[in-house]
Amino acid sequence: MSEHKTTAADQKTTAAEEKADEAAIRVEGLHKSFGELEVLKGIDFTVRPGEVVCVIGPSGSGKSTLLRCVNLLEEPTAGTVALSGTELTDPDVDIDRVRRRIGMVFQSFNLFPHLSVLDNLTIAQRRVLGRTKDEARRIGRANLRRVGVSEKESAYPAQLSGGQQQRVAIARALSMEPELMLFDEPTSALDPELVGDVLAVMRRLADEGMTMMVVTHEMSFAREVADRVVFMDGGVIVEEGPPTRVIGDPQHQRTRTFLSRVLDPAAASVTEAGTEAEAEAEAETGAAATEGDALRG
């Protein structure tokens, strides 16, 4: 994967080189605390090249933090993160060089509002990769076509719909030609009718063989597109496996409870006879458990 990119970081540890081909991401013993609050309590997992992994779980379970630890937007408190054998958590690694190999898409798009759509796509290509203006524009335009917003290249982000903004954000990340894409709840901030376009783009990306790690609440997307689903709760991975098992036939009570809420939120709040907030807080009450069983049966 990395033989044509001879960065200093790549040549880091010879021992890790052997892992390079087997895992796109390897996370080992990952802990993350914000002050007193421990958000990740020891996470181990890998993503293989070309694999699409969906991370699901209730809010506050640490799934976004995990994703942000993979490109070190959050500094892990303990543990290691390795990208194709390059250990990112090694203090001697130039993290800026590694990050350009990892695309990231945010819940709130985070397009640069002072730049046109095309400039959003070219600025990092030019400033980080040192591409010429023409080359950056050519690559940028190709990626805009890929996500279906070519006609908006000279518009500003504020003039686009949320769905278009998110697709531009995906094109921006793709323009850096990353080995791996991270998606942090990419459709959670969108109006329901705009979700489909973004998911379609992601689905195509997955079909093209992109390695993807997706934090999402879109269960149908996870079921249809993911090679593997990871269910997190309370800062640990509770369950992982193919979607047919984790979503179709979950083994753990906590997974069943969560899925029953996500797949049929109306029923969940009716049975609990409480507000949604309460329902969320009491994730492990008996009432919720019965529901989970009911759904399964």
């Binding site: 937007l73 640069f112 504020a158």
Partner: protein, 261 residues
């Protein structure tokens, strides 16, 4: 006696207009209009101010202001970045600077630079440099706080997006954060430009040659010459030529910012 709400409103408004009419009448009949016209609106004196008040005084005021603003903006940006630095001594230095120059009168800074420095160090400083430094040093303290607030107002997600594309901290600051911060602080910075325009009148302290006169000094000299307040009024109107459009610009920029949110 009870009044309906409409009657009460009408009565209150009637009283307000009544008071206004009384004051206007008192001024109209009580003031010595002949004296006032001689003092403020002497057309001959007013005409004598032109064209020099525009070609020399107004131009110099603009030049002094822009010199001070340019230097102050650059220094203010450096101070703002120091205030946000992760190296504590930079933060302390910037805070000390800002507190000092916001706390002392601009007049003192002009005296210190115009007379203090040349005497103490036995150097001759170019007049324009002195003006630039004095106005800029004071302006920078205010602008630094404005720019810092602007930088902090740029959403955190912008830096995260920039970093996730592989930009270094400095590159993200230069290409992403600072351009957005300046958009946010454009209205308050324009206000600062208005304040500096007026502070440029302190230049008179430095002892100017005729060609260096700015509006306030120009008006004051003409006042002594003509024993009429007219030149002061004309000079004041000339300041408005600069400040009113700027004020209008601030309101438009603020409206644009409000719409963009």
């Amino acid at each position: 006696m009870s009044m309906s709400r409409r009657q009460r409103t009408r009565a209150v408004r009637g009283v307000q207009y009544g008071v206004l009419a009384l004051v206007v009448a008192a001024v109209a009949f009580g003031a010595n209009w002949g004296e006032i016209r001689r003092a403020f609106f002497d057309l001959d004196v007013a005409q004598a101010q032109f064209p020099d008040i525009i070609t020399t005084a107004l131009v110099n005021t603009v030049v002094y202001t822009l010199l001070g603003f340019g230097f102050g903006l650059a220094l203010g940006l450096i101070l703002a970045l120091m205030r946000l630095s992760s190296v504590p001594p930079y933060r302390w230095l910037a805070t000390a600077y800002i507190e000092f120059f916001r706390g002392v009168p601009a007049l003192l800074v002009f005296i210190a630079l115009g007379f203090g420095v040349p005497i103490a160090f036995q150097v001759v400083i170019n007049q324009y440099v002195t003006v630039m430094l004095a106005l800029g040093l004071v302006g920078a303290a205010y602008m630094a706080e404005t720019i810092r607030a602007g930088i902090q107002a740029v959403p955190k997600g912008q830096v995260e997006a920039a970093r996730s594309l592989g930009m270094s901290q400095g590159r993200a600051m230069r290409s992403i954060v600072i351009p957005q911060a300046f958009r946010i602080v454009l209205p308050p910075l324009t206000n600062e430009l208005i304040l500096l325009t007026k502070d440029s009148s302190l230049v008179y302290l430095l002892g100017l040659s005729l060609g260096q006169y700015e509006l306030a000094k120009f008006g004051r000299d003409a006042l002594n010459e003509n024993r009429s307040l007219t030149p002061i009024l004309v000079a004041g109107l000339c300041y408005l030529i600069i400040t009113l459009p700027l004020g209008h610009l601030v309101r438009r920029l603020e409206a644009r910012t409000a719409k963009a949110r």
